[in-house]
């Protein structure tokens, strides 16, 4: 193959899963980083491990890569395991680690030539430079590359051995949006060429964009698994409506919200802890909460959660549901102080499953 995107070895003879994890556990001191994990990734699939920082993604991927030994459980890659076939596996997988710093004073070409020399077979250095679109930087020193270029170099180093299985650990963390898109394009092309890719990320949109299937991780466990579409479908609606309301007197309500913030640490009653079933415009030190039953009764509303006065509804048929929500609130004499909608994402799935935002930590 000319452009180094597709693996020559990942051919028709390959059978069985590319990766199989059974009952993986790993603890560091008293912290359970991975707590009973089962995963199966088919050949040719792009699989994403998704979760907040500290969810155990990196530990999991490093166990797969043979860099960390699990306390319990079995790891099988391409039908082989690390205990018996380490040398062979190293030849057949490509790895990009989080935050590797290549020597600043080597050029892009020298770095790739070095990594190419470790593999028995693979693509040429020129091909890998072309794949990572680093032609113009070929003779530049690594120290002078931008973050995105460094990340593409890391990707090229993972590709020189023409791997059947490619591991990418947070490939776009810390990149600006443009560099991120650039890298997504590269992964997209590798995917099109039929390589098996396993990546970790804490960007939901990245997983949605790139992955055929994702596993959402939290506290060392997989809490949901499936295609992005399947996971979003579990929300029940394909759109999310978020709003906050003020009472009959809007300024009073916003004042109340202000009080709530000030009083939060002084033991003032918090509406979040004791959901009220009635509208409390101007209630001292409380958010204005709309009665849950009222909202659930609106047709098209699938689920509801409230967080610090912000109501989050998952709805179907946004164009029908929104006028009804407006009408219901008007009927209660409430004013909207905030209102927005967006298409449901994996982020919303995570919020629904854990009650936390992904990037809260």
């Amino acid at each position: 193959m000319k452009n180094g995107l597709g693996s020559q070895a990942a051919g028709a003879q390959a059978t069985g899963p590319a990766l199989l994890l059974r009952g993986i556990r790993k603890a560091f001191a008293d912290v359970k980083a991975v707590d009973g994990l089962d995963l199966e990734v088919a050949r040719g699939e792009c699989f994403g491990l998704l979760g907040p920082n500290g969810a155990g993604k990196t530990t999991t991927i490093e166990i797969c890569e043979g860099l960390t030994a699990p306390d319990a459980g079995t790891v099988e890659l391409l039908g082989m395991n690390w205990a018996a076939d380490a040398a062979e596996l190293r030849q057949r997988i490509g790895i990009q680690l989080q935050e590797t710093q290549f020597p600043d004073k080597l050029t892009v070409e020298e770095t790739l030539r070095l990594f190419r020399s470790f593999f028995r077979r693979g693509i040429s250095v020129d091909e890998s430079i072309e794949t990572a679109q680093l032609e113009e930087k070929r003779r530049s020193r690594v120290g002078g590359l931008s973050g995105g270029q460094k990340q593409r170099l890391a990707m090229a180093c993972a590709l020189v051995g023409d791997p059947e299985l490619l591991f990418l650990d947070e490939p776009t963390t810390g990149l600006d949006p443009q560099a991120r898109r650039h890298l997504w394009d590269l992964v997209e092309r590798l995917k099109q060429a039929g390589r098996t890719i396993i990546l970790t990320t804490h960007y939901m949109e990245e997983a949605e964009q790139l992955c055929d299937r994702v596993a959402i991780m939290d506290h060392g466990r997989v809490i949901a698994q499936g295609t992005p579409q399947q996971l979003i479908a579990t929300l029940g609606g394909e759109d999310i409506v978020e709003f906050a309301v003020g009472g009959a007197n809007d300024s009073q309500a916003s004042e109340a919200r202000h009080f709530d913030k000030l009083g939060a640490g002084t033991g003032a009653p918090n509406s979040k802890d004791s959901p009220v079933s009635e509208v409390r415009p101007g209630a001292p030190a409380g958010h204005t909460i709309v009665e849950a039953g009222l909202l659930r009764a609106i047709s098209g509303v699938q689920s509801l959660s409230v967080d610090e006065g912000l109501h989050r509804l998952s709805v179907t048929e946004l164009h029908v549901a929104v006028p009804r929500i407006f009408a219901a609130l008007r009927g209660q004499g409430l004013h909207l102080s905030e209102f927005r909608t967006h298409s449901a994402t994996l982020e919303d799935v995570f919020v629904k499953l854990t009650g936390r935002n992904l990037r809260d930590e």
């Binding site: 860099l67 030849q91 590797t100 020597p103 020298e110 030539r113 070095l114 051995g161």
Partner: protein
């Protein structure tokens, strides 16, 4: 790409070599610094004609008699002024005219002052009419190989080999570990032994340049002698470099940060800078600590190199220092391979 270029050991070695050459500070410490040091010491300890010693006398007659000796220069001063000049080091000796003869005032713990006494007394006795009982003539010797510069060049060579090997290995490895590069390397199919071997190979490559530049300079600028066989000297340099590379590897085998590594590095090297006889003979240390001094690898290396260069001793007669170096090479190397932390 030819066969050599696709070999991972070749690539690893070339990478190390390139990285070293692209580090300006490393070039300074390895090539320029030892030469500057040799030049400085060469100037400070060059063989000068014997110093003319300043002395004082209380009468012009005495001063005249003293000045007649080519080794002395005399000034006339009264006793009080002379005593002050003695105290401040202006003169080494004061000759005082007394009614019954001459008195000399000087510090007998100062070797120069004792020399001045001998010269001054001879000059005054000769002026007073004493004649030598036996006629004597001086034959002066300034032999190459017995000068301080000849002594210090093998010392500097040993010190330089120690520094470049230890820093070269220790720092690069700890830096690679800190930047997660070490982890990236073992995540690839690279044979681990080749990574460590590439450090030794690039070190040896560097050694050829380093030793040739330094010894070539010492030869051309100071005429330092090479009395032993050159290839045996080369072997000693290789062994010394391997020994300190092994020590550098040991220091770097677990350290996670540069701070820890440089602390350990100085801990290992400082005693040797002081004890191993780089600038003066290690035999000056008390007998009680001589076994320790002798057992240090730098002492062994410098002793062997001085033996080769200054006395022309062959390797066969240097089994003790060579044996000490071998032990210091093999033991740290074996230990560091066992405890090396790859991530």
């Amino acid at each position: 790409m030819n066969k050599l270029e696709t070999s991972s050991l070749y690539q690893l070695t070339m990478v190390r070599f390139r990285l070293l050459l692209r580090e300006p500070e490393a070039i300074f410490w390895i090539f320029i610094f030892p030469i500057l040091l040799a030049v400085g010491l060469g100037i400070a300890f060059r063989n000068r004609p014997a110093d003319v010693l300043p002395v004082g006398a209380t009468t012009p007659q005495l001063a005249q008699a003293l000045t007649r000796d080519p080794g002395l220069t005399a000034a006339t001063m009264d006793e009080a002024a002379g005593t002050r000049a003695l105290a401040t080091g202006g003169i080494l000796l004061l000759a005082i005219q007394r009614p019954d003869g001459v008195a000399y005032k000087f510090d007998d713990t100062n070797p120069d002052a004792r020399t001045a006494l001998l010269l001054a007394d001879r000059a005054i006795q000769t002026a007073a009419g004493r004649r030598d009982a036996v006629s004597a003539a001086n034959e002066l010797v300034h032999e190459t190989g017995s000068r301080y510069i000849d002594f210090v060049v093998p010392g500097l060579l040993g010190m330089n080999l120690m520094g470049s090997a230890m820093w070269g290995l220790g720092f690069s490895i700890v830096e690679a570990r800190q930047k997660k590069l070490l982890k990236r390397m073992v995540a690839s199919p690279m044979p681990r032994w080749q990574y460590l071997a590439s450090f030794l190979l690039s070190r040896l490559l560097m050694l050829i340049i380093e030793v040739a530049v330094f010894l070539g300079f010492a030869r051309l600028a100071f005429g330092v002698p090479f009395r032993g066989s050159l290839w045996q000297l080369g072997l000693l340099c290789v062994l010394t470099s391997l020994t300190f590379s092994a020590l550098g590897l040991l220091v770097a085998s677990r350290a996670k940060t540069m701070e820890v590594a440089s602390g350990l590095m100085n801990l290992v090297m400082l005693p040797m800078w002081i004890l191993s006889g780089v600038f003066f003979s290690a035999t000056r240390f008390p007998a009680a600590i001589q076994p320790l001094v002798r057992a240090l690898p730098l002492t062994a290396a410098i002793d062997a190199m001085r033996g080769n260069m200054l006395q022309g001793i062959s390797l066969g007669q240097l089994t003790v220092p060579v044996g000490i170096l071998l032990v210091w090479f093999l033991v740290p190397f074996a230990v560091s391979l066992r405890i090396f932390r790859w991530r």
